[in-house]
Symmetry: D4
């Protein structure tokens, strides 16, 4: 049984890095600045690095007062300190369909990078202008894992899924309007994709996609090491 | 005000051909064989032709007893007699994503043909194997109207929509399972398509798509004639 | 394969006019003023005209600083510069059910006009006072394409659909309350319309309807020219 | 406090006629033939009449063995014995949109008749061919209550609602397919009708509509009698 | 065919009073103050009275500048001028389940009063404390029409429906949280009520309920006069 | 850590009785006759009793071949052998709204009895005839736990909840049609009940309600014994 | 029949304590400060204590002006005065899955305490780090009733349900995003829990859970006293 | 651009093995026996192996007449011929929550095996009896990829996700009833899992999960080979 640490308002899973390869990551949304500050500090102390997703600029300021080198990216809303000690050799590709999907794509990319992945970004390649994607078809073969971020109808996942021999992680986004229902439509669409090798994470969950890509990279590394 | 004819159980819109260019079409589902037989007979008498959609083989037998030349196609479930006196010059393309979408695609194609269109069929070109569609990219430019029939996530409509300068009518189908929800997913997906120039009809409504394509052809003909 | 231009944050489909007859249109929502400004500038340079939908007054100010003649309409929220070089002869009718549907109707009308269509507006003709619509019944026959914009239960599309021999493009709007569910009800209602020849676009998608009408007009022109 | 009678498997509301003007009506669906037989017998004994909705032919046979004059109509699936002692002077109109809505329309009509109403049927007047309805516009003014039965998108309720000065009871039906979702679409559509004076009952609930119409007639009679 | 008046942004149904007994009522939501002011003025001119629902205090101020006697009630948000010339003898009861349902209940009550009804209000009689309702059981028998307004699970409609011999119009409200889904739950619950004689209007549609009650009263009056 | 037994196709939780007071219960639906037979046999061996819910008559025959005294009730579809060694003193009341809710009510009652409860059944007391319920109001005070089973709009739970000082477990049933959506409506309705002290289990889950009632009884017994 | 008191805008159920063991509790949301003040004052007068849920700080100020000892907790948003005269011996456990579920958990805990329960809080024990929960497994056996509060996918309820012999009351929370749909997902998930002995209350309904736990405690006390 | 082969009713993607590492797999559902027979034959000819999912026993008979060694498993409904030439060293674990999830779990396991994976099955370890899962906790660490199959509320995915450092692919199943909505509930639940490293495929899509696991294994192999 692994151990944890009780901060009063939360139970910190300090043992997590040993167990899964990575320390706990803080989901900033719905937490107070003070709660984030305390958990962040304790994580840095235990692991030498920490990551907050969906951070606010207030959280960034508070953390940077404690850790001057902490970095806040206001597109992805990732607030990070330190980095993975490992650097994976394989490449994780992050594709997105439109300009408005960028925050989610960057959350995926930034998470994967913080976890030690090399990330290649290919943005604004939605299927309505298929030539933009086709121009990268050969390049896509270099990827070991692909993350496809798309709002609207989410068709990009199916098209990419059919082009590659590698796992595709699809992220529906809340970008759209009307019958898009805040991302329900691309979620369902990606779920029922006619392409194989596509798995799906929650709406706007760039973090989850980046994390899953990184543990596939971790597997590749550790399996090779065995 | 246009006139109609009361058959007791229904009010036949005999004036319809004068008004819209085409006689009423019988929606077979939910009607009795006898009801279909009576309406069919009266329509042939008035217009020299008739069409039943979602016909059953029982309806076909009953109608063929009255009109030996009536034709029943058991894939599209169209039961027809006679044809349009007009033949349009433009081409209507019917594309479908998978083998299982065929009945709906054929309903669209058969309806358009009965209404005087020239139909080109391009089937099983779902986006998971994008090369199948790309092989027809040049040919697609010959179309005046395109009907795209797809189940699963319905991504084909978006990809085709981005390739052509002509109206695309998308038909979601009930082919799929799980999160596909009997066609709700491709319906929503086509609705929120990132491609412009795409309009959508009801789930499995091949007839409606074929009909809409035909009246665009009628417009082309009549506008040219003006 | 058609070419595109990489602006860093987006991939501009400069080839689009050659391919589809019209340059790319900018969906303003979710983009920054600066992003819109850059794309707009590049589009004007390439095509001599540009259109932004769902523009804000901030975007308008920024664009008008660059292009004094750019026009911003705060009902339709269309921000445009230049016009189509083509003027189609046929008429596109835009009907709406109620006063509150006006912004969507104007988006449809303005888009179609910018694309070269002649638009006739018939507003506030919802079916609860059917005489308002009946008064225009003869006039409706002049239309080559009809766009029907309606919130609430969206019944106008079915009634108009039964009156004309031309394609009807239905636009459900988010105008309503309660069981209207932000436009889901008229969307479903228009989808299941008992009238034939009706196709549907996304909730509040006046732009999409105007665009589809314009490419039908383009077809009529080019088919006549063949 | 009113009394009831315990049949073991159910508690019969014998007092109901005194309280509401009408005896309990048996909802046949989900009951066994024997349960229906017992309740029916007891109701006839207490009130001299009885009505079963959604009856099966098996129920009909069992009841007719006990009460030879019991009547079973296999379109409406109403199984009845005896009649209301009152005959209302006003007219209840039952309209339906299409041929397939007939069973529900007949359930409404038959219920209202059994309860003492004079019913005028106007069937197959869906709005896609608006002239069929307009032909009856003057006649509609004779109605004291109107029941509008419609599947598909249910638009008929809104159009009728705008034509009359009398209460309209709308009944969505499960007739349709695809985005119709077994009647959810006309239910929502009727709920959000742009016409005033329209109230709605459950999908396929012809009985409820007929009952409500009858108690409005009862009110007219009793209010006049006061 | 009845006539209407074109105000540019809307088509006023001036003929409506002759046709239905009541002038058009203005739905304030989604209209500008100026639009409401113009329509209001024209309606007062034509009919000597006018009513706005979902009015804002800004609308009230503008209207009261033109018509000093116009009355604005900020609970029901009804803005009215003048009154029905008719006064019905029967009583309309408005019941509501909880204190928070009051605005909708008052919209129903105020509408019915403006239309000439005598209204009895019985508020905060939700079924969780059934004795509050039972205390009024005898009194309920005086009603000619009952309007039941309820949020949460909407059970009040079923209980009242079983107690009276008169039509019950149920109004679900958006009062609730969680699985209440902004009124969807009481709407569905009232739709599937086990009580007969209950019909339903849209969520928060107090106006519609008041209107329907008033035209039943109008029927009682006019039917008696025949 | 508690132990389990591997039957190959399933892992039997033999330790469960020690842990929770009751042996595992077999959910018959979706299991083969042979699977049920094996698990049943092993459970009887270990605990001297066993219960199958949603059993079929085929399962009953197979089990009774092994255990002649096994009992099958074809209303509740409970197949049981042996009984609880404990008999609780308190009373569990099972109420249901209509005759068609009986199978679910009996599943609840039979489960509670098998677990040692004394059950009082009060059936067919739906709120549309509130006097049937009021007749039992005093008697309800004898209950220690109340299970309320209702389909349609599920209003009975709210009314009962307001009458008693004891926990009410509500069970929505799939009995209804149209806007009832197979039990979703009473589920949501019971969830948003205006009465306190009401908790809810899954649609048609009579077993779960009976089980929860029994462990409250177990608590009463064991707490008294402490 | 129990009595109530009419405050004009509401009917106070003064008799409630005698009937159910507890006075009415005020649901603050949707009420005005003045309404809450009046009801609160009257309740204190009648019962010597009062509780408001979902109170605002404005309400707190107004009440504390009247009753200086009134207590407001801004996490749970409970505003209370006085306490239960009874103190139950059994323990109610409140568990929550994450830090963000705290306000709902505290509403449950605070309600139960105000009603006389002894509450043990075990927070931040979500199943993604199962060891946090396992660390409390033995301690959980001390509980007489368990309240499990969880957002996201709500899995904690199933795991806890399988560990204990006591009733588990599950509270889904609106904490989550995307496919979580404001709590619908954990609500459905808890409803379909594979664990027995779990019942569910509305999303974010900490009060309801606390109340239900308290009346189970009341039952234990009163049953022991019999 | 890759090539395909036109069989008339479908376009076979013969090039697929070169592109993705695996030949096309036939989705049997919705295809005729003859269609499956033809595609199967052509695939065996091209690749020396073939797989049909959701096969029927009729398909099996027809295929086995052509290929005597073809194997049909009637639990997973997989119909296969030949095997992958590669055998991966890593282990794929397939876990399922209950006995009824077995067909989906076996589809996942059988697919992965056919594609060259070594599969370890751990069945009936649903979280309601958490000890069954905990007994395998150490063993789970041997997995390179984990597939978690669960119906009901799908909580198993979250618990497993928190225990391992490897990718978890979650498969919701249609096993359940009531608020489970044919698998929608576990789908949403898995989507919103509080555990990281979990991605999701469509309801009952065991094949998709097995395929995704296999291409992760392929990546491990090929990445090691680079």
């Amino acid at each position: 049984m692994s151990s944890f640490e009780d901060l009063g308002f939360c139970k910190l899973d300090i043992d997590r890095e040993a167990r899964t390869g990575y320390p706990e990551v803080i989901f900033g949304q719905g937490k107070t600045v003070e709660q984030v500050r305390k958990i962040f500090g304790r994580l840095v102390q235990a692991h030498g690095r920490a990551l907050v997703t969906r951070a606010t600029s207030e959280m960034a300021k508070a953390i940077q007062a404690d850790f001057a080198e902490a970095n806040f990216d206001d597109v992805s809303r990732l607030l990070s300190y330190g980095q993975s000690t490992r650097k994976y050799k394989g490449k994780v590709f992050v594709l997105c369909a439109g300009t408005s999907d960028l925050p989610v794509a960057e959350e995926a990319a930034g998470t994967a990078e913080w976890m030690g992945c090399q990330v290649t970004r290919i943005y604004d390649v939605g299927v309505a202008g298929i030539d933009r994607l086709l121009a990268y078809r050969d390049k896509l073969q270099e990827a070991q894992v692909l993350i496809v971020v798309a709002g609207m109808e989410g068709a990009l996942a199916s098209v990419v899924g059919g082009m590659v021999r590698r796992p595709v992680i699809a992220v529906p986004t809340s970008v759209g309007y009307g019958a898009h229902f805040q991302g329900l439509t691309p979620l369902l669409s990606m779920m029922t994709s006619c392409a194989v090798g596509v798995t799906v994470v929650n709406i706007d969950n760039g973090f989850g996609a980046g994390y899953s890509a990184a543990i596939i990279q971790q597997l590749v590394l550790e399996a090779g090491a065995q």
